[in-house]
Subunit: 118 residues, 2 copies
């Protein structure tokens, strides 16, 4: 029989002797982190931040796509793409009025963004 | 001479007759939006959100890299890369203590993230 012993396999949660070993527990699960990261990715874009900010700066918290286009100085298809990303993330609501699409902030969803860091 | 008239060219800032024309002004400048988007990109990642959350869940708001590795179930070089991104964004401070690097939250910088949406 061999007389040497081998160290037990180090598992993901083990702490080696020379590690501080404070034992970090808790925090976000991977699933919750994936959900939050997807929401943050929707806002982590300068054009989309400008659009959200411009809509918030209006008296009624809503704006027409035709008024948003000059704010960011991009083509209407490009602006519409960015607005669509924000709608899909739940940060804006879209409403068709006659020829134009209007976009309104969803404050509760913006609260979801800041809640990630509370 | 032709009797038909052509519409004047529509410029980026003009409002056509059938546009709502509420005149959106204000909001973030592009430069401010670029700065905020860069900060948001640093946190818009599930692993980095898990790391921030795990560090915040500790009693002292700091953790050693060796304790963070098992939290996210990734290799130490990968975890170190993500921690470096957070340090470069100013969200964590890094301190070498003996063999290991420790990471501490920078609450004021986390406030900068939420301030984007206030």
């Amino acid at each position: 029989m061999p007389t040497t012993t081998t160290a037990p396999p180090v598992t993901a949660g083990s702490v080696t002797d020379d590690c501080c070993g404070i034992g970090v527990d808790g925090g976000l699960t991977r699933e919750a982190a994936e959900t939050s990261a997807a929401l943050l990715k929707a806002v982590a874009d300068p054009v989309r931040l400008q659009l959200l900010s411009a809509i918030r700066a209006t008296a009624d918290g809503e704006a027409c796509v035709c008024d948003l286009t000059p704010v960011v100085g991009l083509s209407q298809p490009t602006v519409s793409h960015h607005l669509k990303v924000l709608v899909e993330a739940g940060l804006l609501e879209r409403e068709k009025r006659g020829t134009w699409a209007w976009f309104r902030l969803v404050p509760a969803r913006l609260d979801d963004v800041t809640a990630i860091f509370r």
